[in-house]
């Protein structure tokens, strides 16, 4: 029983990380049809600069972690907006060029980060509580999992509130369904594109800082690893569906944990098999719109 609880909560923590990356990917694809392979680079630069800011001000403390998170959010949003305004905006409706240029950005970014921070992981100091465990029904749960789950829940709640209660949220929801008709109502939908990139980049930035808490290090490849699973989550959840991304994040991460524990470390393989099954049986994903 305690193993089950540990696997589920650890899976939820990992799922929270996946969701923070996948939420932006899903919104960006849903509104603009852009498969943004550069999203992992937003996460990595935010993780590095967040860590740099936190350790300089108050290393290994809650203050340092909060500063890391705030800087990570700001950096993620800024880099995402710059990418959209300077590069992606010129390539809307040109899907092959978008894929090529975002893949190029992601590769160049990893090389740049390795040049600045080196090729080896840099281990980070965290507040002492985050390195401890809490016992729940006999299972000793690492405390950082609770922080990850809480942050992802807050981000999910915040994005849902934004989408439901604001005019820009209304434009984004309508744009995900039919962006040409939004334009035909006299709305400059490109402003929403920039906003969605900012939201996605901010979530990825927070994800980058929290990933450094989860793994205990920052590295130039942090974003690349998480991006693969975030894409899998986005496809399984249904491209463009935030709710689908949230459900699929939990599903994939929990399944991964169980497979790793009970099937001899085959978590990644099982996730890929699940992706193949979803693509064969329900290509639009759990909650994606029908083609």
């Amino acid at each position: 029983m305690d193993t089950l609880i540990l696997l589920v909560i650890t899976g939820l923590g990992l799922g929270a990380l996946y969701f923070l990356v996948a939420s932006g990917l899903s919104l960006i694809y849903g509104l603009m049809g852009v498969l943004n392979f550069a999203h992992g680079a937003f996460l990595t630069i935010a993780a590095f600069l967040g860590w740099e800011a936190g350790r300089r001000i108050s290393d290994g403390t809650w203050t340092g972690l909060v500063i890391s998170a705030l800087v990570g959010i700001l950096v993620g949003a800024t880099v995402a907006v710059l990418t959209e305004v300077l590069i992606i905006r010129r390539l809307y409706e040109r899907h092959i060029e978008q894929a090529l240029v975002t893949v190029g950005i992601s590769l160049a970014a990893v090389a740049l980060f390795e040049g600045i921070w080196g090729t080896d992981p840099i281990y980070t100091d965290r507040p002492a509580w985050l390195t401890q465990t809490t016992e729940i029904l006999g299972a000793r749960i690492p405390n950082d999992r609770f922080v990850l789950i809480a942050c992802a829940a807050l981000v999910l709640g915040g994005i849902v509130l934004f989408l439901r209660k604001t005019r820009y949220g209304l434009i984004i929801r309508a744009g995900v369904e039919n962006r040409h008709m939004v334009t035909a109502l006299g709305i400059d939908v490109r402003r929403s594109f920039t906003l969605v990139f900012a939201i996605g980049g901010a979530a990825a930035g927070l994800g980058g800082v929290l990933a450094s808490v989860y793994y205990g290090y920052v590295s130039a490849h942090l974003g690349s690893v998480l991006l693969i699973f975030a894409f899998i989550v986005t496809v399984i959840g249904g491209l463009g569906s935030l709710t689908g991304a949230a459900i699929a994040s939990v599903l994939v991460a929990v399944l991964q944990q169980f497979a790793n524990f009970y099937l001899g470390g085959t978590g990644d393989l099982v996730v890929v098999v699940l992706l193949a099954a979803v693509l064969l049986i329900r290509p639009r994903g759990l909650m994606g719109k029908a083609a």
Partner: protein, 242 residues
């Protein structure tokens, strides 16, 4: 927003060419839309009526000269053209199915004082369904939402594409009533296959064939000439096309 001078057309289209995926769908089309009343854009299926409307709005690649009350709009993006007072009611409604009726209308509001009372008086059924998702409405109700989105703002021109397509006869009458009321507030360029509706609403017609204009004149002149109706529209009389 300045209105057109007397006798100046609200919309002037000259040498319009439109392309979809590299294929020419509108070819050298020229016509005017007067500043009052309803002008019907007619033609057989597939002649380029919808593409002409989309070209005017910039929803597809186009070249040519398009003037709204004398001002060039052919280089403006779609949202700017709409902001200048050109409302669009698309073929197949294109309501946002996951949004409620109220959200569909709120999204369309671009004026500081949207005409909510006018919309409520024209479409009382929508008032009762404000919190219903538009995707769950009947075809007729979705058409009402689509029309209401256009009429909630003050417009200089309405572009209305096949508003009665696929609707039951009773709903067709309701849509025609709403369009007649809307025509009091702004001129309409109407694409319509139902010739009974055209006779009721339109003063003028522009007929397209193979992407080109082949007839312009009064609606009665065309509809009373069965040979022309047969030749241009491929039907024998109005009831057949209804």
């Amino acid at each position: 927003m300045s209105g057109p001078v007397a006798d100046e057309p609200i919309l002037s289209v000259r040498n319009l060419y439109g392309r979809i995926a590299g294929q020419q769908v509108v070819e050298d089309v020229s016509f005017d839309v007067p500043a009052t009343g309803v002008t019907a854009l007619l033609g057989r299926n597939g002649v380029g009526k919808t593409s002409t409307i989309k070209s005017i709005l910039g929803l597809i690649d186009r070249t040519g000269e398009i003037r709204l009350a004398g001002e060039r709009i052919d280089r403006a993006p779609t949202h700017r053209i709409v902001q200048r007072g050109v409302a669009y009611v698309p073929e197949d409604r294109e309501v946002f199915g996951s949004l409620t009726v109220a959200e569909n209308l709120r999204l369309a509001e671009r004026d500081r004082s949207p005409r909510r009372e006018l919309v409520a008086s024209l479409f009382p059924d929508l008032e009762a369904r404000r919190e219903q998702r538009a995707g769950t409405l009947s075809g007729g109700q979705q058409q009402m939402v689509s029309l209401a989105r256009a009429l909630v703002n003050e417009n200089r021109l309405l572009l209305v594409d096949e508003p009665t397509k696929g609707l039951a006869p009773r709903i067709v009458d309701e849509v025609a009533d709403a369009l007649a009321e809307a025509a009091r507030t702004a001129p309409i360029l109407l694409v319509e296959q139902n010739l009974l509706v055209v006779r009721r609403l339109a003063e003028r017609v522009v007929v397209l064939s193979s992407g080109r204009v082949v007839f312009t004149g009064s609606a009665a002149e065309l509809l009373d000439d069965h040979d022309r109706v047969q030749r241009f529209l491929g039907v024998h009389d109005e009831r057949e096309a209804a």
